[in-house]
């Protein structure tokens, strides 16, 4: 028996719309982070990729270029439902502590606190921006640490991933003197992705 597997492909205009919408959300995140750091943040254009969840580690490994990662997860609900993961390469975490002006011997609890704070800003700004522009309601649960210096391939293991589609939003913030990158992954169930795309199509029709 052949099971019909939901295969999700973004049309070019849908991808462009999501990219621009995410871009506006990230601009807001960049502004919040700049205020926290008191430094000018150079923004890049977010890249959007759609991949099956089992390919997420490979896609991330290629982008992050590091084998060990830390990650924060944050659920979102209401008209858009799913799970956002913010993934940091290990040395990026150290950069982040440095960026935020912490002493070198930042203790572990403080480091985790920092990852949660930054993730919260990014997820709130990016998803909040997407929801606002698509005129959808969205709510967020509190962020929690899902991986602490874990090999990348173990990231999604153990957590049953009932999602068949992952939307990867690659975000890169750079300061003029130091760099820090992180990756935002949105995992959404099929019917939620379809609903999101309906909203994107409405948005496109309104242009």
């Amino acid at each position: 028996m052949v099971t019909e597997k939901f295969k999700f492909v973004l049309a070019d205009d849908q991808k462009e719309a999501l990219q621009e919408i995410a871009n506006i959300g990230m601009g807001q995140a960049g502004s919040s982070i700049a205020q926290v750091l008191g430094e000018f943040v150079q923004l890049s254009i977010p890249r959007i990729l759609v991949v099956p969840p089992e390919e997420v580690p490979t896609a991330l490994a290629w982008n992050i270029g590091e084998a060990t990662v830390s990650a924060v997860r944050q659920a979102f609900h209401s008209a858009m439902r799913g799970e956002a993961l913010v993934i940091f390469g290990q040395h990026r975490c150290n950069d982040l502590a440095d960026l935020m002006g912490y002493e070198q011997d930042l203790d572990h609890a403080a480091e985790i606190e920092l990852l949660l704070d930054v993730s919260n800003i990014l997820v709130g700004a990016c998803l909040g921006g997407i929801a606002e522009q698509l005129q959808l309601n969205i709510g967020f649960s509190a962020p929690s640490l899902m991986a602490d210096a874990l090999p990348l391939e173990q990231l999604l293991q153990g957590s049953p991933v009932p999602w068949s589609t992952a939307l990867l939003v690659e975000v890169n913030f750079r300061l003029e003197t130091r760099s820090f990158a992180c990756h935002l992954v949105l995992l959404m169930p099929d019917e939620e992705v379809k609903a999101l795309m309906v909203a994107v199509d409405h948005f496109l029709e309104s242009l």
């Binding site: 462009e16 621009e20 871009n23 506006i24 601009g27 960049g30 502004s31 700049a34 254009i45 242009l207």
Partner: protein, 122 residues
């Protein structure tokens, strides 16, 4: 004679969003550029009176476009349209000669106010 307006953004969606927000009664001829190089080419060809300029673009970004035009006498009005809403981004582009900064998503009323303020459209 219609004014020549150039809309510069790497995102076709962003260009559409901006064009949709321009006053319907404004007598203009709209051209589009998908990056800094195209924008500078149109500018050098003398085809631009008002430029709506995005900042975050691959290769030649909005800052570089502003800087280059400034070195070449900047004889067009530049309105920066950006998702980068940091206070310092605003300060930088205004110091580089932009007449206004409009944040994304664009607001038609804000654009109209800027156009009237500078007597570009009354």
């Amino acid at each position: 004679m219609p004014l020549s307006v150039l809309v510069v953004d790497d995102s076709p969606i962003a260009r559409k969003m901006l064009i949709r927000s321009l006053p319907a009664a404004w007598d203009i001829e709209i051209a589009q550029a998908c990056g800094g190089a195209e924008a500078l080419a149109a500018y050098r060809a003398g085809k631009v009176e008002v430029m709506f300029l995005d900042l975050t673009m691959p290769e030649i970004d909005g800052y570089q476009v502003l800087e280059t035009m400034r070195q070449e006498d900047m004889n067009c009005l530049v309105i920066v349209v950006s998702a980068d809403i940091q206070a310092e981004a605003v300060d930088r582009v205004m110091a580089m000669g932009a007449i206004a900064f409009i944040k994304k998503p664009v607001d038609a009323a804000k654009i109209e106010a800027v156009l009237r303020q500078y007597g570009i459209w009354v």
